[in-house]
Every structure is written in structure tokens, then in C-alpha cells.
Amino acid sequence: MTIKDLSKKYEFYLFIIIISLCILFSFFTKEFLTLENFLDLLTNYSFLGIMSAGMLIVLISGGIDLSFTAIATISEYMIALIIINYNGNLLTAFIVSCLIGIILGCFNAFIIYYFKAPSLIVTIATLNIFYGFIILVTKGRWIYNFPTWFREMRNIFEFTAGNGKEYEIALPILLLLFVFIITYILLNYTFLGRKIIAFGGNQEAARRMGFNIFHITIFVYAFMGFLAGVGAISHVLIVQTVQANAIVGRELEVIAAVVLGGASLAGGKGTILGTILGVTLIAIMWNGLVLMGISSYWQPVILGLIIILSVISSAYSSRKSILGGTKIDIK
């Protein structure tokens, strides 16, 4: 691939921005460009990354899911219940967490498919249902008495670098990697992935080709739910507490990361590489702002702006394709 080809790609510009930001921040703060900070970033943003992969699939299919934070919260309470009250192991907690995600995701998909209801409204409603339900049951109680072995599970292995410092690779980093890889394979190498892309690009055309729309819808929202389960495990491992309002409210951050990565809110468009870069950009921005001592209330402002810009740009490009989008070879 030549430089000219590269320069046509959106991801290329994103990459340039990320590199420039890194250089900028490393001037301001010494801590920024260290392996320690890098591993910390990866760990802390693994939840955002995992959810973004799910959101990418949902957005590509032409839908949206806002209920995943509530699904992940329910999963987190179940994880706490299994680990603390039933002395369960991590694998059991993991499986149950994912199963809850899949079931609740299917619930979303059923309503969206059978009632031809807009996914935005349906998932705002289910967000409230799931969230309200978990507050009612748990009374919003915080849980932090996880056993010691659970605390130690956080870091899968530790190593000593050449300079004598000790570093830790956390399990959430591995989960994040796993999620990115399966999403990449799904989108690029599977029949199902290509059907999702086609469906998001043109629903009527997909129907005409004889694709089973029900299967596609179920898969997309169940996958998002499944990743909410995976995200729940990684989040609990990192923070070692469960609280009802820890992740609900972070929906926009995930959507912003994915659309920043080039996915379209109109569906049919998006890549896992773009999403990874989008998440990276958000993580670096937040981290840089914190290290520079800038108020974190800028975060929601920036998130909102990103989403508005994305909507404007897709509206602009669709208008451009109607008005004068064609190029005529004048002889």
C-alpha cells in the first residue's frame, strides 16, 4: 500500500492525530510517555474498548444500543453474588455474566424485530427497565468485600523490565485483545459478518437477497449483550467494587469512541481498526487532560461535540451525493 492510498483512509488521519497528541502531552507531563502509564491506560480503558467492539457491530447493522451499561451492571451484581455469596470461581462468574448479557440482548432484539420498533427508543426504554430493576432489587447497595484470591486474579502475570521496574499485565487487557480479535474475524472473514454489513448498508436489498433478518438482529444485540457480560467481568476485576451507578451514564463515551473511529450512525460503515483508534484517541485525550490538570467536566462537552460532528458529516456526505456527487470526465 502506497502513501497515496494510505492518505485516502480515514484511519490514517486518526493515527496522525493520536501521534501528535502523544507528542504534545509528553511535552507537558513526564509521566505520559512511560510503559507504566501505557499499561494503566490499557487496563483502565479495557471496558470502554470491549463495549466499543459491540457498539461497532450494532452501529454497522444500522441499529444502536443504549441499554448495555444497565446490562453490564446487572451482570456485575450477579458476579458479586456468585463470587461472594456462593464461593463460585471466576469461570462460573464469567459464564453467568455473559449468559445474562446474551439473554437481555435477545430481549432487545425481539422487541426491535417483532414490533419493527426503532432501536434507539427501545434500548432507552430497556436501559431504564434494567437499571430501575437492579436498583429495586439491590437498593443501590455498594459491594466491595471481594475475597483476596479475586483481587489477585486481576493481574495475570508480572514481569521485570530492563530498568528493574516491575510491571503487571492485567486480565482485562487479555479480554480486550480477545474481543478485538473475534470482532475483527467476524467482520472480515465470516458469512454472518458480511450479512450484518450488507443489512446495515441497505436493509431492503439485504431482504431481497434472502437474508434472514431475524437471525441478524438477534445476533447483533446478543453479541452486544455478550460483550456487556465480558465488560462487566473486566470492570469488576479492575475496580474490585460493584455499584449501581458506576457505568450507567457512560453510553455516550462508547458511541463517541466508535463514531470517532469512522463508523456511521446511519449504519453499514465501520472497521475494527478505526474503533481501536477511536478508543485510543478518547483514552489519550482523557489521560492527557487529567495529567495536565484540566477539569474532567470538559469530557461530556467533548463527547457531545464528537457525536454532533459525526451526525453533521454523515448528513453532509449524503447531501453531497445527491447534489453534484458525480464527477464528469470533461473532454
Binding site: 474475524i185 472480515n188 472473514y189 465470516t190 458469512f191 458480511r194 450479512k195 454489513i197 450488507a198 448498508g201 441497505n202 431492503e204 436489498a205 431482504r207 431481497r208 437477497m209 434472502g210 437474508f211 434472514n212 456511521s264 453499514g268 460503515k269 451525493s321 456527487g325 458525480t326 464527477k327 464528469i328 470526465d329 470533461i330 473532454k331
Partner: protein, 331 residues
């Protein structure tokens, strides 16, 4: 007026033309932009011809005829001759017996032979598209039989129709056929994803490229790269992509619903060439249209539909353009 007739039926066009003449009497000047030769010849007093962004000429209506106009528009000469050779009526591909659907069509019976191009001509609202939908499995008939290669079928979905070897090129290629924001490759191979899977059930990119290149070359799609987005192509080339998509499924029967709506004269003839080529390869083609010359010069046989019924079957040499034009709207 920029292509004001593109979605109008013939009687509506007549109504529009009489309005234009009324407006003209009140002193309003009208600039009528179109690529439909017969309309230009009918309504205009002077004609400016553009080709490749350049003005080719300005003529008085009386100094120019259809053929010269087509030549100046495209730089090519086209011959319009009726199909010379008759189809050997050896093998019946499709037989329809007394097919009826309430408020769509009634008592439809016909046969389609191997390698035959069968026209169905009728105005918008004659039941032609509804009938085609039934053959493609998306508009189940109330009664009657559809028999494909001696086997009676009743499609529950268009998936079954696709599997039975039917391809359907829709009238609205952008809305129902193409995924505009995706590559030529993705659009062409989306119907044959199953064939692209390798032993690991993953999509084989080499095979994908091979299939795409084959169809892009054999239908002479003008593009620099098969990863270009479909929205960058001209109307005629987009139509070729829809055709390629269905040809890739190696259909036995191809239904073309108004395949040349909105594309220029040169691309139209390209499409007719492809139809003739396919008919030589024993594919049975049903060409649905409301354009008299299209049906008259490109079908072995055609059926006239009016108000949901087949009124009469014609051989092209039995009738002239004018007579057929009158027959379509006759009450």
C-alpha cells in the same frame, strides 16, 4: 425541469406535457432536461446536447431525429433491430398457471423457455411488478401454480426463490439493490458469500477478488479499482453491478424490472447486449418494462398487461411501435 418524467407513467407524462404547453402559452420559458430521446423529440423546440461535460450542438427540433440525437449524445451509432432468431421452444423453465392475487393480478398464465427473453409490458399499476414479486417469493399469490422445471413450487420467502435459481433486478436499484456506501466487491459477492467460504468457514479474499474481477470484466464495468464505492459509479455501471450480483448466483431465471430506468442511451444498449448474451447462455429472462421500443426490440415474445390481467401475447414482428404504444393505454 430536471428529468421530470423519470417516475411517471405514460399517461402522466402526457398530462405533464399538456401542462408544459399551457405554461408556454402564458409566456413561460421552459428548460427541459432529459436523456429520454422520445420525450425530447415530442416536447422541445430546440435541443442542446451535452456530452462528457461539453456542449456538442444546438439544433432546431425539425433538423434532428432520434438516431442523430442518440449519436450526438453518446458518440456511438446504435442499431435498433428486432431479435432475428427465434428461440427453440425445447425446455420449459417456468410455467405459471392461473395465478391470482386479490387486487394485484388475476388469471395469469404463461410459459418461459430456456434462453428466451420474455417481455411483460404494461403501465405502472398494471400488476406487472406485483406479479414479478410473486415469482420471486415476496408477494405470495392467493391461488394458481408456479412450476419451475416441472416442479411445483410455493415460496415461503425470497430466500427459497433465490435457491431455486431466480434472480431479481429491481426497478429501484439504489433503494432495493445496492449498498451505495460499500465497495464493488462487497456488492457483487454479497449474494454468493457461501461460495467464498474456505475449509475453516472463513471468507476467502482471493476467491472474492476472482469472482468480482470476472464479473467486472465480463460486463465491462468502467472503474479503476474493484474496491471503489458503488456510489462513485454512473447509473449504467451501477445497474451492471446489480446485474453482476445476481449473475454470480448462476440463476436459471432472471427477472429484470425496468432495468434501464434512469440510465443513458449508451448504457441502455450495453444492458440489451448483456441480455442477448445471457439468452445465448440458456438463461430465461423476464423483462418488465413500460417502454415500447425496449420490449419490441429486445424480446423474443412479450405479454401485454393491463389492469392486472394479461391482455394478449405478441411476437415482435406482429406489431409496430405506434400500435403497441396505443395498446398499452387502451381502455
Amino acid at each position: 425541469m430536471d428529468e421530470p418524467t423519470s417516475s411517471l407513467a405514460r399517461h402522466e407524462i402526457d398530462a405533464l406535457f399538456s401542462i408544459i404547453k399551457e405554461l408556454q402559452k402564458t409566456g413561460i420559458t421552459i428548460l427541459f432536461v432529459s436523456h429520454k430521446l422520445n420525450e425530447i423529440m415530442e416536447i422541445s423546440e430546440r435541443v442542446t446536447i451535452l456530452r462528457d461535460g461539453v456542449k456538442v450542438g444546438l439544433f432546431d427540433r425539425k433538423d434532428i431525429d432520434d438516431k442523430k440525437l442518440a449519436y450526438l449524445m453518446t458518440g456511438k451509432k446504435f442499431s435498433q433491430e428486432k431479435l432475428a432468431e427465434k428461440v427453440k421452444k425445447e425446455k420449459i423453465l417456468l410455467e405459471v398457471k392461473n395465478l391470482s392475487k386479490k387486487s394485484n393480478y388475476k388469471d395469469i398464465s404463461f410459459k418461459l423457455y430456456e434462453g428466451e427473453i420474455l417481455g411483460i409490458i404494461g403501465m405502472t399499476g398494471s400488476g406487472r411488478t406485483e406479479l414479478a414479486f410473486s415469482l420471486f417469493g415476496i408477494n405470495p399469490p392467493d391461488s394458481g401454480d408456479i412450476i419451475i422445471e416441472q416442479k411445483k413450487v410455493s415460496f415461503k420467502s425470497n430466500k427459497e426463490a433465490v435457491e431455486a435459481g431466480i434472480g431479481y433486478v429491481p426497478e429501484d436499484r439504489i433503494g432495493q439493490g445496492l449498498i451505495m456506501d460499500q465497495s464493488i466487491t462487497n456488492n457483487i459477492t454479497v449474494t454468493v458469500l457461501k461460495k467464498l467460504l474456505n475449509r475453516l468457514k472463513m471468507i476467502d479474499n482471493k476467491k472474492q477478488k476472482k469472482i468480482t474481477t470476472h464479473w467486472v470484466n465480463s460486463l465491462v464495468v468502467r472503474t479503476s479499482n474493484i474496491s471503489n464505492l458503488v456510489k462513485t459509479l454512473s447509473g449504467g455501471n451501477q445497474q451492471k453491478i446489480v446485474l453482476a450480483k445476481w449473475l454470480a448466483t448462476t440463476p436459471k431465471i432472471l427477472i429484470l424490472d425496468s432495468p434501464t430506468v434512469g440510465i443513458d442511451v449508451a448504457a441502455k444498449h450495453g444492458c440489451y447486449e448483456i441480455m442477448r448474451e445471457l439468452s445465448k447462455r440458456k438463461i430465461g429472462i423476464i423483462l418488465i418494462s413500460d417502454e415500447v421500443p425496449e420490449v419490441l426490440y429486445n424480446c423474443h415474445r412479450f405479454l401485454l398487461m393491463r389492469k392486472g390481467r394479461i391482455v394478449k401475447e405478441f411476437q415482435p414482428d406482429e406489431i409496430s411501435e405506434n400500435e403497441l404504444g396505443n395498446k398499452i393505454i387502451e381502455v
